[in-house]
């Protein structure tokens, strides 16, 4: 079965819509996520992207890594721009000024452009019910500007604006639960994903694209630079985030929750923290506190899911 996991990604479409030659750091699992998401979106898509790592690395004038139509305007407005593209095309097709055709509109942003500065525009677009997907590539801090904390940074992580010091132990707040916030908008499709699970990510984006109305995919995207791990370990840590339930994988389809990865025995959070520079300062007491919270949150999530044995 393990071998199948290895070969399954070869089944993805060969065509690259987010091409090589971009300037992402070595081992960037966010660039990998964008690549897989674009394969799932396919050629008949338009992307509106927020300012951030992926925008900067993919579009320095006069070059571009994008083989599909792509627009960037600013940091906080990717969802609003995407909803504008959707509205424009809808009006033009209805009025006979463009031939009718299914075009998938995707907004994309990092965790800052989604959970912090972009939250209002995203909430507005989801509430208005535009037929679009929004993908959050969550690398758990403002990596583009130099690893500053965001509301998606996990408790305890040391960043340049939540540094671990003599009196503080890194980030002092718990990670904002963006997928829950999106689910609370009552939209037809919400999912979490991780580029360490490429087939799962691919399938979720495919499902999101088929949904009529707004869909949201929250993709954990490991950042070796910001997490202070070796560049070859991004996939391993992505898997550990899921296997420890630090980042559980699930879907909310028309309000119904289902886990897409469930383990009878979760790995201890120490397996995930070990080797990550951003967590190296944590005391055993702090780790125990985090473990308790993760276990509790996971049980709460499992209780909501309809496809697990309770």
């Amino acid at each position: 079965m393990i071998n199948l996991d290895l070969y399954a990604p070869l089944m993805l479409p060969k065509e690259e819509l987010f091409t090589s030659g971009h300037r992402a750091c070595q081992g960037c699992a966010e660039a990998l996520a964008v690549r897989i998401v674009c394969k799932a979106l396919g050629r008949n898509s338009i992307v509106a992207m927020a300012t951030g790592c992926m925008e900067i690395v993919s579009s320095p004038l006069p070059t571009t890594a994008w083989q599909i139509p792509w627009i960037h305007v600013a940091f906080e407005n990717a969802a609003a721009v995407a909803s504008g593209v959707e509205s424009g095309l809808k009006a033009l097709m209805r009025k006979g000024r463009l031939p009718h055709k299914k075009i998938t509109i995707a907004g994309m942003a990092g965790d800052g452009g989604t959970a912090d500065i972009g939250l209002q525009a995203l909430s507005g677009a989801m509430e208005r019910g535009h037929d679009m997907i929004f993908v959050c590539y969550d690398n758990e801090a403002y990596m583009n500007t130099g690893i500053q904390r965001s509301s998606a940074t996990p408790f305890g992580a040391s960043t340049t604006t939540s540094p671990a010091g003599k009196v503080k132990a890194g980030q002092e707040t718990w990670k904002k639960n963006m997928p829950e916030i999106m689910a609370a908008h009552g939209i037809p499709y919400v999912a979490t994903a991780c580029s360490a699970y490429p087939i799962d990510l691919y399938e979720k984006v495919k499902r999101a694209a088929l949904v009529k109305g707004p869909a949201y995919v929250h993709c954990l995207s490991v950042c070796p630079t910001g997490w202070r791990i070796p560049s070859g370990d991004a996939i391993r840590y992505g898997r550990l985030a899921v296997e420890t339930a630090a980042f559980p994988l699930y879907e909310v389809i028309d309000g119904k929750y289902q886990l897409t990865f469930d383990s009878p025995k979760l790995k201890p959070i120490t397996d995930y923290f070990k080797g990550q520079g951003r967590f190296r300062h944590l005391t055993p007491e702090a780790v125990a506190r985090i473990q308790e919270r993760i276990t509790r949150d996971y049980e709460k999530l499992r209780a909501k899911c309809e496809n697990v044995n309770k």
């Binding site: 338009i46 579009s59 599909i68 139509p69 909803s83 504008g84 593209v85 000024r97 507005g124 208005r128």
Partner: protein, 395 residues
């Protein structure tokens, strides 16, 4: 020349403006409510709800998103309209700069209103002056008819292949937006003749993928900005032509700089927006008492019509520039500063006296213009004309 239609109806200017937007058959309207812009977008929502306008009305959660939706929809090739004022313009200002650099031809009506604080819903030009350097084509209109006529002009100028710039129509909040005026509507046939359909060369579509809004490293940023400046200056012939064509269609003649009883005038008032109409009344009254005075009304604010302006004031000895916005700790009002720069290199330079008046809706009546003219004479006599003055302050 087409025989202009003569039927005039009494209508609130905001309603007339939205009727013009409807006649332009816009595809997308995106807006967030703010006084005194509300009647414009309310009426457009009503027209969409009644099926009289086939458009997507996107009621966003902020002005920032309003301009962002406009960016997306016009990039997709849709004719797009929005409207705002004051704090709303301040909130969307970031995107106002983005869309002009991205050459996205959005049309926006700004129902000019003062900026907080203290909070005020009434009219002045501080909102427009905040985005003076945003790279938009910017006009100020004097009255209701002009507001209505210029909606067609805005779309034509914005979407012209040789322009591709967003256009901002500034109309004084309440003074124009909430006034009922006699307006002569255009027949739909006239609009069709004047305004060709929007057919963008570049649009977001999977059939011809392109990258919009890329990142500009230092090696290329300066070149981008020079190109943008040149492109804005190069819209001037498109702007002029759109006014010429309008005269042929509806019989009304507009230009970048308009003069009134200015030929033999030693002293000229310089105004922008609805001030100009009141100033005309004041000038007629002053002329009757033998005052050699005229008016220069500045309609086009960006790109600034240097040549036309210099020509309009070439025989004047004194200019009395009346601004409707503050420049704190600066050289005077924004219009006066601009005019000083425009005339500085000339051999014969008029004296420039600057008043700031009508802030936050404070009424400026014909007599106030008379008072300012008299006061300007004293200032010139005293040699204090370089110091700007805020008119009508209760001390």
């Amino acid at each position: 020349m087409t025989e202009p239609s003569r039927k005039k109806i009494g209508v609130e200017v905001s309603i007339a403006v939205s009727e013009a937007v409807k006649q332009c058959d816009v595809d997308v309207v995106s807006a967030y409510p703010i006084t005194p812009q509300t009647h414009i977008v309310e009426h457009l929502a009503e027209l969409v709800a009644q099926g009289e306008l086939d458009a997507e009305f996107v009621p966003v959660e902020s002005e920032h998103s309003a301009m962002s939706v406009c960016a997306g929809s016009v990039a997709a090739g849709a004719r797009t309209f929005t409207s705002t004022a004051s704090q709303g313009l301040a909130l969307m200002a970031e995107i106002v700069y983005c869309v002009s650099a991205m050459r996205l031809p959005i049309v926006m009506v700004v129902a000019n209103r003062s900026l907080s604080s203290p909070l005020s819903i009434w009219n002045d030009h501080s909102d427009a002056m905040m985005v003076r350097d945003s790279g938009w084509i910017q006009v100020f209109v004097e009255n209701g008819q002009e507001s209505y006529d210029h909606i067609f002009w805005c779309f034509r100028v914005a979407e012209d292949e040789k322009s591709l710039h967003p256009v901002m129509l500034n109309m004084d909040g309440f003074i124009l937006t909430h006034t009922i005026e006699p307006i002569e509507y255009w027949e739909d046939e006239m609009v069709k003749k004047y305004l060709p359909p929007f057919q963008p060369k570049f649009r977001l579509h999977p059939e011809h993928p392109l990258t919009m809004g890329a990142f500009g490293p230092p090696e290329i940023f300066t070149e981008c900005k020079k190109a943008q400046d040149q492109a804005l200056i190069a819209t001037m012939p498109v702007i002029e032509k759109a006014w010429e064509e309008m005269e042929k269609i509806c019989g009304r003649k507009y230009s970048a700089v308009e003069t009134y009883r200015a030929e033999d005038a030693k002293t000229l008032l310089v105004t922008m927006g609805s001030f100009s109409e009141t100033a005309r009344v004041a000038i007629d009254e002053m002329r009757e008492t033998g005052e050699e005075i005229g008016l220069v009304s500045l309609r086009l604010w960006r790109p600034f019509p240097f040549e036309k302006f210099r020509n309009a004031v070439k025989n004047a000895e004194n200019l009395i520039v009346i601004d409707r916005a503050m420049v704190f700790g600066g050289p005077g009002g924004p219009v006066a500063s601009e005019i000083r720069s425009a005339l500085y290199s000339g051999k014969k330079r008029p004296r420039i006296v600057n008043f700031i008046a009508g802030l936050a809706g404070r009424d400026v009546q014909p007599d106030d213009f008379y008072q300012m003219v008299q006061h300007a004479k004293t200032k010139i006599k005293d040699g204090t004309e370089d110091e700007y003055e805020i008119y009508g302050v209760r001390e």
